[in-house]
Point group: C2
Chain length 484, copies 2
Amino acid sequence: MSRNPLAPSWLVQPQSANALAPRVWSHNAVRAASGEIEVAGVSSTALALQFGTPLFVIDEADVRARAVEAVAVFTREFARIGAATHIYYAGKAFLSTEVARWVTEAGLNIDVCSGGELAVALAAGVPAEKLGFHGNNKSHAEIERAVALGVGVIVIDSLIEIERVADAAAHHGRTQAVRLRVNTGVHAHTHEYLATAREDQKFGITLADAPAAVAGIRSHASLCFLGLHSHIGSQIFGTDGFGEAVSRLLELHAQLLATGPVPELNLGGGFGIAYTDVDEPVGFSEIAAALADYVLAAATRLGIRVPAIALEPGRAIVGPSTFTLYEVGTIKNVEVTGANGDTSVRRYVSVDGGMSDNVRTALYAADYSVRIANRASDVAAELVRVVGKHCESGDIVVLADYLPGDVTPGDLLAVPATGAYCWSLASNYNYLGRPAVVAVRDGAARVIVRRETEADLLSRDAGISSPSLPTPEQAAQPVMNGIA
Amino acid sequence: MSRNPLAPSWLVQPQSANALAPRVWSHNAVRAASGEIEVAGVSSTALALQFGTPLFVIDEADVRARAVEAVAVFTREFARIGAATHIYYAGKAFLSTEVARWVTEAGLNIDVCSGGELAVALAAGVPAEKLGFHGNNKSHAEIERAVALGVGVIVIDSLIEIERVADAAAHHGRTQAVRLRVNTGVHAHTHEYLATAREDQKFGITLADAPAAVAGIRSHASLCFLGLHSHIGSQIFGTDGFGEAVSRLLELHAQLLATGPVPELNLGGGFGIAYTDVDEPVGFSEIAAALADYVLAAATRLGIRVPAIALEPGRAIVGPSTFTLYEVGTIKNVEVTGANGDTSVRRYVSVDGGMSDNVRTALYAADYSVRIANRASDVAAELVRVVGKHCESGDIVVLADYLPGDVTPGDLLAVPATGAYCWSLASNYNYLGRPAVVAVRDGAARVIVRRETEADLLSRDAGISSPSLPTPEQAAQPVMNGIA
């Protein structure tokens, strides 16, 4: 079959549009003998019937396994160079009480960056000392609460925060452990990185300003300086950027050692995952080995002891664990005229969610892939664009992939690798209710975040007085967007 | 003062960083003698004290006035060419029961595009016959409900929907008025437009396919064909694109008249507003006059009667009515090295909201402006970037504007023209609660959508069992992100 000129150059037409590329799908997602996509033994059809669509389906054992692997691998590699390891799950990727418990049981701490994330972690029963608190603009109320609850560490992001945190700690009679966020000027994205004196963004302070800031921190009896904190970017595939950052950070770290203890160094997160089968992320083992080598080399060069290393993976723990299950409602073949005047067909497949449950495609031009979930098909694959039901032409879920040519309304579609930054960023655009999140494990599925109801959507509207309001029974029904 | 090389080329340094450019602010927003920004007689400080920040502040009389003006101007101009007018408020821009009532009282119908938007309009007491129902992928449940409730008109977006709507109407013993969404191939944005055979997006069917589709609609006794529907884009400043679309639409309209009645033509919306003082949108009068001229010219050329015209403004009604009130938490001067190696300073001003309450800056690279709201200042203006408190470097609210150099933590900032697509697209990213929406009129302010509480944020989490859960009293407190 000739290639559709509308297909982006990176997109490879698959041998089979039924196959699930292992690196894009969770460990326990398979195409079963029935033809259905199953996760941990539960079929997509069963999930859709029981919980409705759209639906976030999270493979619990996959999250737990990646969390355990992260702890094991980083601990092993840093032990090799004599360093202790503290790993934080970056809650901003996806946080619910269940997931907070899973990662805690795997030995991870949790990084939160708002009072709301703090509340979720506490509601999960995570001890406050296992939490790190981040943010470029923490409110006084957030700082007060974090300190009062005994949060393990607060990352200070600006000079003005030194006094704010010190005052709160003094007020509560506590000695608060803090890190200092610095901006190394290294920015990594996918395979490349950029290095300047200071990255043009809001977080942290410069390396040059850090010694004075650390002196400020050390001048407060209510603060205990743990070390520097750095985060060089998101969805990183290479390790070179980390090498440059480690070098810059440890030079400063060595300088700070001259005036007091600096027990730790936090290198942040940003480890990339595969969203499509052409993505080739670096696994935890390779990252851990490379980071340990960078740290050892820089420490050796500088003649300092290797500090304890802290890391903050989020996407790499939870991203690959989840697929979003949608139902197809309408399909259109759209003739598109290319730059050369030739006409090609793009098939628009509309599903019952969209940019309200996955804004990453529109927000970051992110690529995703898609498979039919309720059946296999041997019909030749065709280029598709999966779009949502929002009243906006930019409402695109999967920009380009191939699906069997017989995809039809009522089919279920699964979009993998939606575990990070999809539910987190979800909105109620067009008053669509946000999907449920269902955890599947050992053949059983259970709701860990329930679907939003129409009552939820109307609950904050202060002007409701009309008798046309749905009854409580009606309003308590889950909002079912599907065509089925 | 020399120009900061980091300022974008379009940005004009204002004579006074206290001035409110009339086209960007609502009618009743002023810089009062006290130095504060007041709206309808209520000061920003009073609003922040009473309702907290961030806060959407909507100038009720402004919305009502723009709604009344739209009805008056379009009705007048189309009456001039012998056409009736039906104007729909596009609820997707911003919808609450209060706003639904305001626009209804001004004589507008309401365009909804989901069961949720339908529910809000009904809860406001808007009669179902005044509603239009849109969407490229309406669920069966939505179609059933819309038909059963007696929605005035349904816009059919694809061939498969003809049967779906016809079946629902037959089932309920109703004759459902419908329009047919066509894709004219005209896409307008700001000053320019593009015309192809078919725009590469999900909505509508081609002009070529429309006659068969209309025949299909007319073959159903349960459907009544009103006419064609078109929408050529968003945030449009010129009128040329409408001229081309009208020409194409009325040619098809004339063809359809040969086989049956076609009483109306719906030209959609997309009328732009000013987000910064360099934007020069076309006012309702100019648009209405141009559209009427285009319709008359095409109808005359084709020898047909002028149909009734329907329009769907949303942003142009509600966008300019609102500013978002934030509190400053932290400020950083960041030295940025330009392409030529020179170093300039960008001042990052962090506020207590961000991409969760205004994702348009990140999503569409939208520009906004900003003013200090709680006081005037004569200190020389400096280039700023207003950023939020989210754990993401792309969390930018205002990419570039000038503020007095003495802007400081605790100051209130107002970002105008946030009435459309900000609250609508708001998320709970990083578990931040969504702001309240407060309507101000005649010196009084009242909540029309209440602020989200921590209890709201945790209410769908199915795994909460820990004694660390906040008490109901604690959880019912509004989430206050501010530093004050």
